[in-house]
């Protein structure tokens, strides 16, 4: 961190050098994602919460489309008074973002009038609108699931003639590909439709609590609001149910540490009625609960449980052992509800006046109204819809492979979505002409080079922020979702300034103190490396890492606020967690002994 006069600054965007060996990274991303000279004057932070890895070219769609949608909703649909949308830039494969504020008082006032009418309508009709939302989003899921990828056979089906449809298969290559992108875009519009209003309600309550109780831990505010019957817990609950079913059916012997899911399923098929009973229960759970992502839906390699059964089976093995030992696996929802209510009642009682209690009731009530959406939308959007979306794109990749363009289906994700469009056009033409797609020769070297560059970029440690530190950070979403406040920036700058090499500072997201061996995971695909009793250190813990939480002793992340899923799940499991450290994955090494202090938000390096 530099001191320039009185203005404190992180490195400027223009000062970020290309990673040696990956100087060609710009070729992967469109021109509108590049830092411009004037961007040096603004404050950017690395969105490692959503984008903890360098971006494959196709996966930039998970930045482009969400920011298209969130900005549309805040700036244009609801006219949030003080903020427009979020801009993003990519450098060395990493996504940096900044929000565009509205600062002119007259302009804020003009927008406020529009905002109040529109936001008021949503708040007043929240439950009814949210019901409609669930119908619409499930409609979109149905649509994406129904999309087919044309086979491009030698001859068209006879029906094309008999029904005189007049349109050949190759047309539907593009139409259906575009349909995938269009549905993905719509999903994100719906995703962000309620999001900022939901966070707004939370921020207001959060700030009230902090004013009334200056020392209240963030997690206490979260606990007063958090739901208990949250859909995101459901996949994990299903695994527990299946574990018990395995014991009840007497097939639990098949679930041993390190077992291969395919072999287990095969063996169950040969276990007669008991095996069939378990398999029936399994099939029932898979739709929709195994459409949960092993990541958080921002990368194509975040497969669903259905696609990669090793993740749910790892947890299943553990749960089976517990069920066999007679341990109850049922989440004590009643106790959790009671705890939540008693915490809220205690704080309420401690308020100074009846007026404050009335305001508290209103704000908490509003939070609880909006929270089912805030907590549950992820399952529908990032998990169910998005894993389906990537499956379809992979199927287009498979088409390109069959047509000889790609070596493997997953190579499609090395192309930007506009480049996929071009590759499909090439295939459509070749099928029509009877010629050969030219993409094979053109694209293969490009793809090979991009894969190599991503490997190089992976080892780069991006600065947590770029540009001059702003005087005030007021954006409610930034504050809540990313946990970035003036204090966070302080923490980050300390990390780069000071040399207390033995401590990593963040936020205590879940209380308790434990010591253990660190396991640093930079990528969700490494999830299988986690060993029982280790301390997970990761850029950001994704919602569906649930199964892993049963194995680990504590969680540490680079980024995350108190409402990040890591925080919620850690509290649920009663294990210490420190989030928002900025640098844990850089400073801690796998195998190192560390002490995680979830009370103070400090990780101490013991070796």
């Amino acid at each position: 961190m530099d001191q320039k006069g009185d203005i404190r600054s992180f490195p400027l965007p223009s000062q970020v050098a290309d990673v040696p060996g990956a100087e060609g990274w710009r070729s992967m991303y469109p021109y509108f994602t590049r830092f411009q000279p004037e961007d040096d004057e603004r404050f950017w932070f690395y969105n490692s919460m959503h984008f903890p890895e360098p971006m494959p070219a196709f996966d930039t769609i998970t930045a482009e489309v969400p920011y298209t949608a969130i900005g549309a909703n805040t700036a244009r649909v609801f006219a949030f008074p003080t903020t427009l949308g979020i801009e993003h830039r990519i450098v060395n494969g990493r996504v940096y973002i900044t929000a565009i504020p509205v600062t002119e008082p007259a302009e804020i006032e003009r927008r406020a009038a529009i905002f109040q009418e529109r936001a008021g309508y949503y708040y007043e009709n929240w439950d009814q609108l949210y019901d409609g939302w669930k119908t619409r989003i499930q409609g979109l899921i149905g649509e994406i699931e129904a999309i087919t990828v044309p086979e491009l056979p030698e001859f068209e089906d006879i029906d094309v003639v008999k029904n005189s449809t007049g349109v050949a298969q190759n047309h539907y290559v593009r139409e259906n590909y575009h349909r995938c992108l269009d549905l993905y875009s719509k999903m994100w519009h719906h995703h962000t439709e309620f999001l900022m209003l939901g966070y707004g309600a939370y921020v207001v309550f959060f700030e009230f609590c902090k004013k009334a109780f200056p020392e209240i831990p963030d997690q206490m505010v979260a606990r007063m609001v958090a739901g208990v019957e949250v859909i995101m817990y459901r996949p994990d609950d299903e695994l527990k149910r299946l574990a018990k079913l395995a014991v009840d059916c007497g097939v639990d012997d098949l679930f041993v540490e390190g077992c291969d899911p395919a072999e287990v399923l095969d063996a169950l098929g040969k276990r007669g009625e008991a095996g069939a009973r378990w398999l029936a229960g399994f099939e029932e759970a898979r739709t929709p609960w195994f459409h949960v992502s092993t990541g958080d839906g921002f990368y194509h390699h975040h497969l669903s449980w259905n696609e990669d059964l090793s993740v749910p089976f790892a947890a299943l093995t553990r749960y089976v052992r517990k069920a066999r030992d007679g341990e109850s696996l049922v989440r004590p929802t009643e106790t959790l509800v009671q705890e939540r209510e008693s915490i809220a009642a205690e704080y309420r009682d401690l308020l100074a006046s009846e007026e404050e209690r009335a305001a508290f009731d209103q704000m908490l009530g509003l939070c609880r109204l909006v929270f089912p959406y805030v907590e549950d939308h992820k399952f529908y959007c990032e998990h169910w819809f998005t894993t389906r979306f990537f499956q379809k794109i992979r199927a287009f990749g498979e088409l390109l492979r069959r047509q000889g363009v790609l070596d493997e289906a997953d190579d499609v994700f090395q192309l930007h979505h506009t480049e996929v469009d071009a590759a499909l056009a090439d295939v459509m033409l070749a099928w029509a002409s009877g010629g050969r797609p030219l993409g094979a020769a053109h694209l293969r070297p490009i793809i090979a080079e991009r894969k190599r560059m991503l490997g190089v970029l992976r080892d780069w440690s991006p600065p947590p922020a770029l540009g001059p530190v702003p005087e005030a950070l007021n954006d409610p979403a930034v504050k809540m979702l990313w946990g970035i406040t003036a204090e966070t920036i302080e923490t980050w700058s300390r990390a780069s300034d000071e040399l207390d090499e033995k401590e990593v500072h963040g936020y205590g997201a879940s209380p308790g103190v434990v010591e253990g061996t660190a396991r640093v995971l930079k990528d969700v695909n490494e999830i299988g490396q986690i060993r029982e009793g280790e301390i997970l250190v990761c850029p950001v813990t994704a919602p569906s890492w649930g199964p892993v939480f049963g194995k680990i002793k504590a969680a540490v992340s680079d980024i995350g606020g108190t409402m990040s899923h890591a925080a919620i799940v850690a509290r649920e499991y009663g294990m210490p967690a420190v989030v928002g450290t900025g640098q844990a994955t850089k400073r801690i090494k796998t195998g190192q002994r560390v002490r995680v202090d979830g009370d103070r938000g400090v990780v101490r390096l013991l070796d």
């Binding site: 009230f208 109780f213 401690l350 100074a352």
Partner: protein
Amino acid sequence: MTNPYLVRSLADIGIDDRPTAGGKGASLGELTRAGLRVPPGCLVTTSAFERAVQALDPAGAIRREIESLAADAADDADDYAAVARVTADIRRRIEMAALPEDLCAAIAEGYRALHREPDDADAGAPVAVRSSATGEDSGDASFAGLQDTYLWVRGADAVVDHVRRCWASLYSVESVSYRLRRNLPERGLAMAVVIQRMVDPRCSGVMFTRSPSTGDRSVIAIEASWGLGSAIVSGDVTPDTYVVSKVTGEIVKRSVSSKLRQHRMNPGGAGAVDEAVPADLQDRPCLSDDEIRLLADLGRRVENHYGAPQDIEWAISGAATNTGENVFVLQSRPETVWAGREKGPVAMPKGKAFQHVFDRLGGAAR
């Protein structure tokens, strides 16, 4: 107790008894009556004081002597020599004069009743004899430190002597000067005396039922050091500090300091001695987690009883415990620093709940 108007058990006294029990006595009585663990005690009421003064000085000469000083207060209030001359004489007379027989008997019996085994009293079980002036700790005029407290007093005769000394301390140079400077009237001036079983604290300290640094009402802050709490108050030691959440009971912060000095009872005589803390205790926390929780629980009960945040003095005697039978409240006062800073509600209810969001996102209220 033979004459409830002269000597009363602390358990029979409440906060409304200030006029006859004095500030300290009324507060200790209130806490005792509320079922909080206060060292068992009795109170020699202001009626006893008045009766003694009446016997000693039926014509009211003492008051007139002081009032004659008061008449010259404008010129002469700071003239210590004059005040000292008058007060020394009055003090000597109060301390020397024999008490009426029934008053002596009532005090002696109050003292004996504090001890379960009557034999103890004959053997001279130790008590603290503490002044409790009317008007003390009342918020507007603090008499803090102006009246005497005697520790480790043994035997009925010595207790009677020290009660008289407490009375006499009402006429110390400092007390009289204080009243003169503030123009406080002599008429109606009286003093009660608390006689309490001695607690010899292993550790003691203070406790605020809101954060002293932020005013947060959801936490309890405890400061603790070895021996008597006077070491903390005088600044002779940096105490251990603990913060406990009222909501979850969790100990959210703890800092154990190097406690180099301690004040301990001087068993040979009155008062306390300032001494070095044994090396092996200096860096040890003086409270166990159980004790921290017991204290926090005690703090909440006192606060709930009074309905406002409190500033509490406490002591723990004897060995570590998890039942609280040796955790005592020595004093409780309303917290005043943050109470004075409160600026109205953090937020007011609105017509519709979501209007709170409008205020925040509208760029208006911060």
